[in-house]
């Protein structure tokens, strides 16, 4: 369950990692929500990595994972962390630092 969408690296390119816990309802919702947000607001300038923590339990400690699903924005800076199923669009956009008007 690893899906990588590669785009050209640039300062404006969004590098996102979504950590999910297996095929739980929250995970499934989060994946579909973030994908639609990316497609809608960040078309062609994002890099989304979806990681199932069950498959890589060590990463949970490394990334200080507690609440899942968790989305980590690595780029552009400043980084940020978003938890939940990404259903609250306003908060997702705010967390990602995307201006809604764009």
């Amino acid at each position: 369950m690893k899906e990588v969408v590669k785009k050209i690296e640039s300062p404006n390119n969004f590098v996102l990692r979504l950590f999910v816990a297996g095929a739980s309802a929250n995970s499934a919702r989060a994946i579909s929500n973030i994908k639609s947000v990316c497609e809608l607001y960040l078309k062609d300038r994002y890099n989304l990595e979806i990681i199932d923590v069950y498959q890589q339990p060590l990463i949970a400690k490394e990334e200080q994972l507690i609440a899942l699903p968790l989305l980590i924005k690595k780029n552009p800076l400043p980084g940020s962390r978003l938890v939940g199923d990404m259903s609250d669009l306003k908060k997702v956009l705010k967390g990602l630092g995307i201006n809604e008007d764009i």
Partner: protein
């Protein structure tokens, strides 16, 4: 302990996991409920983290049960450093895969909540750590911190409930710590979810002195001690003090041990105290209580037995120096590892703490005798009743171990003391009272045995003198002026000596008189004898003369008769006197 016996019965019902914490397993009857979560709650700095960490370390080192420590407050490196001071080498345990440390951290400022979530991350991390080292023990140190990091309380509650259930299913013995709340035991009411065993730690300040206390609020399916038990955190970790007088079946030894003072021994039936008994020496300031105590300690060490001297007044060096003035060399006993002088300020910690501390030291050193000098200083820390309660426990413990204990008690005023210390004196087996005897412009010391259970003892007040060579007791003089001590006693001795000389002189004079009288008598007897002899001689002479006279007269008469009537031829034959009988 009584609990251990009960525990044997309980084992069939509820398996337990020993904590390895000194005393805690006694109170809980064997440890924490095996395979279930236990809640340890308490205020800041009450020792929650330390207690749970000791549980993990002991599991790894003593019981071969690896453990996972999940910290929500302190970083792993900080934890390792914090417990290093207690002698726990956490880093080595982590290295050898006996312990797994995981620091869980969330920065609430850098997180945005965008909908529903769960704490699956914690489950995954914990599950992974447990499986990696085969953990049997788990600690979640202040899991409540999640509440401040995440805002969705309903979710967290549901998730924690699920977490504890999951831990039970995993079969690990878990400790969850929680901060003390205002009304509830914990701030977030964690006790609702963890219902098997709840331990409450308290850190109380009474009279400006802090005491750590532990109480088992709840222990489902097991008997447990219900009291508040004091506990101590020192360089060896936590020790809980469970000693309460449960039974009174202590052994009573009839072995006697010397007090180190010959005169005092003779007051106590000639042999001194019973082994394992408790002795109180009370007296006003400067009456030599410490001297008696130190002499006793020294005599114990002379026999090659160990002794602990708890001094609450003088430092060890001070005590050693002061005792050299009475010819007591304590240093050599310390060098020989027989004597241990432990000094602490009474106000350093609470009464219970002192008790725990003493308990620990005694268990460690295993002495034959213990001296506490003076117990009255402890009253500054607690009330007389508290001190009594503490002493009951201490005496109980010491008697069980057959350790002789000697307390000294400072009394302020002779008449009041005997009242105030009734509470304490009723506990002890022997009570010596050292008192001032003021007389003749001097202050002298008198010692008497107020009580001494189970032995014939003197009812006399003896004068107690401190010399360069130690302590000694002398008979006091009871004269028409009352008890005589010090120079008055010396004067009395001199007076009596004078009397003796005079009497001796008189005696010899009388002897001479008698011998003279005898001489006179003898002389008189001689004279009388001589007189008698001369009288006898005289009488004899008269008698012979009379006899002769009569013979001659008879003869003459016969002669005349003869001449007149018979023939003259027969003259020759009859010439000789013829005495007829």
């Amino acid at each position: 302990m009584d609990f251990n016996e009960k525990n044997k019965l309980n084992l069939g019902l509820l398996p337990k996991t020993p904590t390895g914490i000194l005393g805690l397993d006694d109170i809980t009857g064997g440890g924490l409920p095996k395979g279930r979560p236990t809640l340890i709650c308490g205020g800041t700095g009450s020792g929650k983290t330390l207690m749970s960490l000791e549980f993990i370390v002991n599991g790894a080192t003593k019981y071969d049960e690896p453990g996972v420590f999940m910290a929500f407050e302190e970083k792993a490196e900080e934890l390792i450093m914090n417990v290093a001071s207690l002698g726990f080498d956490l880093a080595a345990l982590v290295e050898s895969k006996k312990v797994s440390l995981d620091y869980v951290y969330i920065d609430p400022n850098a997180i945005e909540e965008t909908g529903q979530y769960d704490l699956e991350g914690v489950f995954i991390r914990l599950g992974y750590a447990i499986d990696q080292i085969g953990a049997k023990r788990v600690v979640l140190d202040t899991v409540e911190n999640l509440f401040s990091d995440l805002t969705n309380e309903t979710t967290i509650r549901a998730e924690l409930r699920r977490l504890f259930q999951w831990l039970k299913e995993k079969g690990v013995t878990a400790i969850i710590t929680g901060e003390k709340g205002d009304k509830l035991l914990t701030r977030r009411g964690l006790e609702e979810y963890v219902s098997d065993c709840v331990i409450f730690l308290d850190h109380r300040i009474i009279n400006k002195i802090s005491t750590r206390l532990l109480r088992i609020v709840k222990y489902r399916g097991s008997t447990h001690g219900t009291n508040e038990y004091p506990f101590l955190i020192d360089s060896d970790g936590i020790s809980v003090l469970p000693i309460t007088s449960l039974n009174m079946d202590n052994v009573a030894s009839s072995e006697r041990i010397s007090t180190g003072i010959t005169g005092l021994d003779s007051m106590l039936g000639g042999q001194g105290f019973f082994r394992g008994s408790s002795i109180l020496i009370s007296g006003t300031a400067g009456t030599g209580k410490t001297n008696i105590a130190a002499t006793f300690a020294s005599s114990i060490c002379d026999k090659g037995e160990k002794c602990i001297y708890f001094s609450f007044e003088e430092s060890a060096n001070q005590l050693i120096r002061n005792m050299t003035s009475i010819g007591l060399d304590l240093q050599k006993h310390i060098d020989a590892d027989l004597l241990e002088i432990i000094t602490s300020r009474p106000t350093m910690f609470g009464l219970e703490m002192h008790l725990v501390d003493m308990h620990k030291k005694i268990s460690e050193i295993k002495p034959k005798a213990v001296i506490i000098d003076p117990i009255t200083n402890l009253v500054t820390v607690g009330s007389v009743n508290d001190v009594k309660a503490m002493l009951i426990r201490l005496i109980d413990f010491l008697q069980k171990e057959q350790i002789t204990v000697l307390f000294t008690a400072l009394t302020i005023n002779n008449s009041v003391t005997e009242q105030t210390y009734e509470v304490i004196s009723s506990l002890v087996d022997a009570w010596l009272l050292v008192r001032d005897i003021e007389f003749n412009g001097e202050r002298n010391r008198g010692v008497c045995v107020m009580k001494s259970r189970g032995m014939k003892h003197s009812n006399q007040i003896r004068e107690f003198i401190i010399t360069d060579d130690g302590l000694d007791l002398v008979e006091v003089y009871l004269g028409s002026d009352g008890v005589l001590t010090g120079s008055a006693r010396e004067a009395q001795i001199l007076k009596e000596l004078t009397g003796d000389v005079l009497k001796g002189y008189q005696k010899t004079r009388k002897d001479r008189e008698i011998s003279r009288k005898k001489q006179i008598l003898d002389a008189t007897i001689l004279t009388l004898k001589a007189k008698f002899e001369s009288a006898e001689e005289e009488l004899n002479r008269t008698y012979t003369e009379e006899l002769l006279t009569r013979d001659i007269q008879e003869k003459n008469r016969k002669e005349i008769t003869h001449i007149r009537g018979s023939s003259p031829k027969k003259n020759n034959e009859d010439n000789e006197p013829n005495i007829e009988t």
